[in-house]
Protein backbone atom coordinates (compact mmCIF):
# COMPACT_ATOMS: atom_id res chain seq x y z
CA UNK A 1 0.00 0.00 0.00
CA UNK A 2 1.33 3.37 -0.98
CA UNK A 3 0.47 6.75 0.40
CA UNK A 4 0.23 9.72 -1.91
CA UNK A 5 0.96 13.13 -0.60
CA UNK A 6 -1.26 15.91 -1.83
CA UNK A 7 0.70 18.09 -4.23
CA UNK A 8 1.55 21.53 -3.13
CA UNK A 9 -0.29 24.31 -4.86
CA UNK A 10 1.25 25.42 -8.08
CA UNK A 11 2.25 29.00 -8.23
CA UNK A 12 2.64 28.94 -11.96
CA UNK A 13 1.45 26.61 -14.70
CA UNK A 14 2.73 26.40 -18.22
CA UNK A 15 1.32 24.29 -21.05
CA UNK A 16 4.08 22.28 -22.68
CA UNK A 17 4.14 21.75 -26.46
CA UNK A 18 3.17 18.10 -26.05
CA UNK A 19 0.05 18.93 -24.10
CA UNK A 20 1.33 18.27 -20.58
CA UNK A 21 1.43 20.90 -17.87
CA UNK A 22 4.54 22.21 -16.18
CA UNK A 23 3.76 23.30 -12.70
CA UNK A 24 6.06 25.37 -10.61
CA UNK A 25 5.28 24.76 -6.96
CA UNK A 26 5.62 27.15 -4.08
CA UNK A 27 8.80 25.48 -2.84
CA UNK A 28 10.40 26.02 -6.28
CA UNK A 29 10.19 22.41 -7.47
CA UNK A 30 8.89 21.56 -10.94
CA UNK A 31 6.23 18.97 -11.68
CA UNK A 32 5.06 17.82 -15.09
CA UNK A 33 1.58 16.35 -15.16
CA UNK A 34 -0.64 15.00 -17.86
CA UNK A 35 -0.13 12.74 -20.84
CA UNK A 36 2.04 13.67 -23.79
CA UNK A 37 0.03 13.83 -27.00
CA UNK A 38 1.28 12.01 -30.08
CA UNK A 39 0.35 15.00 -32.13
CA UNK A 40 0.89 18.04 -29.93
CA UNK A 41 -1.47 20.89 -30.30
CA UNK A 42 -0.07 24.02 -31.92
CA UNK A 43 1.78 26.37 -29.66
CA UNK A 44 2.42 29.93 -30.71
CA UNK A 45 6.05 30.50 -31.56
CA UNK A 46 6.89 26.84 -32.00
CA UNK A 47 7.43 25.40 -35.50
CA UNK A 48 6.36 21.79 -35.76
CA UNK A 49 7.68 19.37 -38.27
CA UNK A 50 4.86 18.89 -40.68
CA UNK A 51 4.46 16.96 -43.89
CA UNK A 52 3.42 19.50 -46.44
CA UNK A 53 2.77 16.88 -49.12
CA UNK A 54 0.73 13.84 -48.33
CA UNK A 55 2.72 10.64 -48.60
CA UNK A 56 1.67 8.66 -51.64
CA UNK A 57 -0.29 5.65 -50.57
CA UNK A 58 0.52 2.23 -51.83
CA UNK A 59 -2.20 0.93 -54.05
CA UNK A 60 -3.06 -2.66 -54.61
CA UNK A 61 -2.58 -3.80 -58.18
CA UNK A 62 -5.87 -4.37 -59.93
CA UNK A 63 -7.02 -7.94 -59.79
CA UNK A 64 -6.81 -9.76 -63.11
CA UNK A 65 -10.17 -10.39 -64.63
CA UNK A 66 -11.29 -13.78 -65.88
CA UNK A 67 -9.75 -13.13 -69.30
CA UNK A 68 -6.49 -11.64 -68.10
CA UNK A 69 -3.61 -12.08 -70.57
CA UNK A 70 -0.27 -12.85 -68.92
CA UNK A 71 3.01 -11.73 -70.40
CA UNK A 72 4.91 -14.88 -71.44
CA UNK A 73 8.67 -15.14 -71.19
CA UNK A 74 9.99 -15.69 -74.77
CA UNK A 75 12.83 -17.93 -73.52
CA UNK A 76 10.20 -20.13 -71.90
CA UNK A 77 8.44 -20.47 -75.27
CA UNK A 78 11.76 -21.33 -76.94
CA UNK A 79 12.45 -24.00 -74.32
CA UNK A 80 9.00 -25.46 -74.82
CA UNK A 81 9.45 -25.55 -78.59
CA UNK A 82 12.85 -27.21 -78.22
CA UNK A 83 11.44 -29.80 -75.84
CA UNK A 84 8.59 -30.48 -78.27
CA UNK A 85 11.03 -30.97 -81.17
CA UNK A 86 13.15 -33.36 -79.09
CA UNK A 87 10.10 -35.38 -78.16
CA UNK A 88 9.01 -35.59 -81.82
CA UNK A 89 12.53 -36.66 -82.84
CA UNK A 90 12.59 -39.30 -80.11
CA UNK A 91 9.21 -40.66 -81.22
CA UNK A 92 10.34 -40.87 -84.87
CA UNK A 93 13.59 -42.57 -83.89
CA UNK A 94 11.78 -45.03 -81.65
CA UNK A 95 9.36 -45.93 -84.45
CA UNK A 96 12.31 -46.63 -86.77
CA UNK A 97 14.10 -48.73 -84.15
CA UNK A 98 10.97 -50.76 -83.40
CA UNK A 99 10.56 -51.47 -87.11
CA UNK A 100 14.12 -52.87 -87.20
CA UNK A 101 13.64 -55.22 -84.24
CA UNK A 102 12.25 -58.71 -84.52
CA UNK A 103 9.12 -59.44 -82.43
CA UNK A 104 11.06 -60.79 -79.41
CA UNK A 105 13.47 -57.87 -79.37
CA UNK A 106 10.60 -55.43 -79.78
CA UNK A 107 8.68 -56.88 -76.87
CA UNK A 108 11.78 -56.86 -74.68
CA UNK A 109 12.70 -53.29 -75.61
CA UNK A 110 9.19 -52.06 -74.87
CA UNK A 111 9.19 -53.91 -71.56
CA UNK A 112 12.70 -53.20 -70.29
CA UNK A 113 14.27 -50.52 -72.52
CA UNK A 114 16.97 -52.86 -73.83
CA UNK A 115 17.25 -55.78 -76.27
CA UNK A 116 19.73 -58.55 -77.06
CA UNK A 117 21.50 -59.05 -80.38
CA UNK A 118 23.17 -62.35 -81.30
CA UNK A 119 26.45 -62.10 -83.22
CA UNK A 120 29.08 -64.78 -84.01
CA UNK A 121 31.27 -63.53 -81.13
CA UNK A 122 28.52 -63.82 -78.50
CA UNK A 123 25.58 -61.67 -77.59
CA UNK A 124 25.18 -57.99 -76.97
CA UNK A 125 22.66 -56.10 -74.93
CA UNK A 126 21.78 -52.66 -76.30
CA UNK A 127 19.98 -50.20 -74.10
CA UNK A 128 22.49 -48.39 -71.94
CA UNK A 129 24.67 -45.81 -73.61
CA UNK A 130 28.43 -46.32 -73.09
CA UNK A 131 27.74 -49.66 -71.38
CA UNK A 132 26.80 -52.26 -73.97
CA UNK A 133 26.85 -55.61 -72.21
CA UNK A 134 28.79 -58.24 -74.13
CA UNK A 135 28.78 -61.91 -73.20
CA UNK A 136 31.33 -63.80 -75.32
CA UNK A 137 30.14 -67.13 -76.65
CA UNK A 138 31.16 -70.15 -74.56
CA UNK A 139 32.36 -68.20 -71.51
CA UNK A 140 30.85 -66.71 -68.40
CA UNK A 141 32.70 -63.44 -68.91
CA UNK A 142 30.87 -60.14 -69.12
CA UNK A 143 32.32 -57.04 -70.78
CA UNK A 144 30.93 -53.54 -70.87
CA UNK A 145 31.63 -51.96 -74.22
CA UNK A 146 31.43 -48.41 -75.42
CA UNK A 147 30.63 -47.97 -79.11
CA UNK A 148 28.76 -45.00 -80.55
CA UNK A 149 27.96 -43.58 -83.99
CA UNK A 150 29.96 -40.58 -85.14
CA UNK A 151 28.30 -37.40 -83.91
CA UNK A 152 25.99 -39.41 -81.69
CA UNK A 153 25.47 -36.41 -79.37
CA UNK A 154 22.94 -34.95 -81.80
CA UNK A 155 20.97 -38.16 -82.31
CA UNK A 156 17.91 -39.26 -80.35
CA UNK A 157 18.80 -42.32 -78.25
CA UNK A 158 16.72 -44.85 -80.25
CA UNK A 159 18.56 -43.73 -83.41
CA UNK A 160 21.85 -44.65 -81.72
CA UNK A 161 20.59 -48.19 -81.12
CA UNK A 162 19.23 -48.47 -84.68
CA UNK A 163 22.61 -47.28 -85.97
CA UNK A 164 24.57 -49.77 -83.84
CA UNK A 165 22.17 -52.61 -84.62
CA UNK A 166 22.62 -52.23 -88.39
CA UNK A 167 26.38 -51.70 -88.04
CA UNK A 168 26.98 -54.78 -85.88
CA UNK A 169 24.78 -56.97 -88.09
CA UNK A 170 26.67 -55.88 -91.17
CA UNK A 171 30.20 -56.15 -89.79
CA UNK A 172 30.55 -57.56 -86.26
CA UNK A 173 34.34 -57.70 -86.53
CA UNK A 174 34.46 -53.98 -87.23
CA UNK A 175 32.13 -53.36 -84.26
CA UNK A 176 34.46 -55.18 -81.85
CA UNK A 177 37.55 -53.62 -83.43
CA UNK A 178 36.41 -50.12 -82.49
CA UNK A 179 34.76 -51.08 -79.19
CA UNK A 180 36.31 -49.83 -75.98
CA UNK A 181 36.10 -52.46 -73.24
CA UNK A 182 35.36 -50.51 -70.08
CA UNK A 183 35.84 -53.55 -67.85
CA UNK A 184 39.45 -54.12 -68.97
CA UNK A 185 42.51 -52.33 -67.56
CA UNK A 186 43.35 -49.16 -69.51
CA UNK A 187 46.24 -50.80 -71.39
CA UNK A 188 44.03 -53.56 -72.87
CA UNK A 189 40.76 -51.93 -73.69
CA UNK A 190 40.22 -53.37 -77.15
CA UNK A 191 38.69 -56.82 -77.38
CA UNK A 192 39.84 -58.44 -80.61
Amino acid sequence: MTTATAPATAVETEILPDGRELRILADGSLVVVGTAQARPHPVPGVDWIRRDRPRPRARRAPRPGPFHVRAVDPTHLARQASSYRRRLAHDRAKALLLSLLDPDQRAEYQRTGHFWVEVPQGRLRFGRLYSIRFEPRGTNAVHLLCVVPNGYETLPIPDIWANLLLAVRDDPARFFAVAIDRTAPPARRTLF
Partner: protein, 76 residues
Protein backbone atom coordinates in the same frame (compact mmCIF):
# COMPACT_ATOMS: atom_id res chain seq x y z
CA UNK B 1 7.88 -45.33 -104.64
CA UNK B 2 11.26 -45.59 -102.89
CA UNK B 3 12.08 -44.12 -99.52
CA UNK B 4 15.38 -43.04 -97.97
CA UNK B 5 15.63 -42.43 -94.25
CA UNK B 6 18.66 -40.46 -93.13
CA UNK B 7 19.00 -40.58 -89.35
CA UNK B 8 19.71 -37.19 -87.80
CA UNK B 9 18.75 -34.96 -84.90
CA UNK B 10 15.10 -34.88 -86.05
CA UNK B 11 14.86 -38.66 -85.83
CA UNK B 12 15.24 -39.12 -89.53
CA UNK B 13 14.86 -37.12 -92.71
CA UNK B 14 12.92 -38.80 -95.48
CA UNK B 15 13.69 -38.57 -99.19
CA UNK B 16 11.31 -40.24 -101.62
CA UNK B 17 11.53 -40.98 -105.30
CA UNK B 18 9.41 -42.64 -107.96
CA UNK B 19 11.23 -45.22 -110.05
CA UNK B 20 9.37 -44.02 -113.15
CA UNK B 21 10.21 -40.37 -112.52
CA UNK B 22 13.75 -39.60 -113.71
CA UNK B 23 13.88 -36.25 -111.91
CA UNK B 24 13.15 -37.61 -108.42
CA UNK B 25 15.36 -40.65 -109.04
CA UNK B 26 18.28 -38.46 -110.11
CA UNK B 27 17.86 -36.27 -107.03
CA UNK B 28 17.75 -39.31 -104.74
CA UNK B 29 20.87 -40.70 -106.42
CA UNK B 30 22.66 -37.38 -105.96
CA UNK B 31 21.83 -37.42 -102.24
CA UNK B 32 22.95 -41.05 -102.05
CA UNK B 33 26.36 -40.16 -103.51
CA UNK B 34 26.85 -37.19 -101.21
CA UNK B 35 26.10 -39.34 -98.15
CA UNK B 36 28.50 -42.02 -99.38
CA UNK B 37 31.20 -39.36 -99.54
CA UNK B 38 30.48 -38.58 -95.88
CA UNK B 39 31.31 -42.25 -95.14
CA UNK B 40 27.77 -42.98 -94.03
CA UNK B 41 26.45 -46.51 -94.43
CA UNK B 42 23.34 -47.41 -96.45
CA UNK B 43 21.14 -50.42 -95.78
CA UNK B 44 18.31 -51.49 -98.05
CA UNK B 45 15.35 -53.43 -96.73
CA UNK B 46 11.84 -54.30 -97.77
CA UNK B 47 9.79 -51.51 -96.23
CA UNK B 48 9.37 -52.07 -92.49
CA UNK B 49 11.39 -55.32 -92.43
CA UNK B 50 13.61 -56.09 -89.40
CA UNK B 51 17.36 -55.50 -89.37
CA UNK B 52 18.03 -59.17 -90.15
CA UNK B 53 16.61 -58.54 -93.64
CA UNK B 54 18.53 -55.32 -94.20
CA UNK B 55 21.42 -55.47 -96.63
CA UNK B 56 24.37 -53.13 -96.92
CA UNK B 57 24.46 -51.41 -100.33
CA UNK B 58 27.14 -49.26 -101.88
CA UNK B 59 25.29 -47.98 -104.95
CA UNK B 60 21.91 -46.37 -105.36
CA UNK B 61 19.21 -48.87 -106.25
CA UNK B 62 16.08 -47.13 -107.59
CA UNK B 63 14.07 -50.32 -107.11
CA UNK B 64 14.83 -50.47 -103.38
CA UNK B 65 11.76 -50.05 -101.19
CA UNK B 66 13.54 -48.44 -98.28
CA UNK B 67 17.11 -47.31 -97.70
CA UNK B 68 18.30 -46.42 -94.20
CA UNK B 69 21.38 -44.29 -93.74
CA UNK B 70 23.38 -44.65 -90.56
CA UNK B 71 26.67 -43.19 -89.41
CA UNK B 72 30.05 -44.88 -89.08
CA UNK B 73 30.78 -46.13 -85.58
CA UNK B 74 33.60 -45.42 -83.16
CA UNK B 75 34.74 -46.36 -79.68
CA UNK B 76 33.32 -44.14 -76.99
Amino acid sequence: MGLMRIIDETGDTVVTWAADDPATTAEAERIFRSLELERRMAFARPEGAPASEAERIHAFDPTAEEIIWVRPIQGG
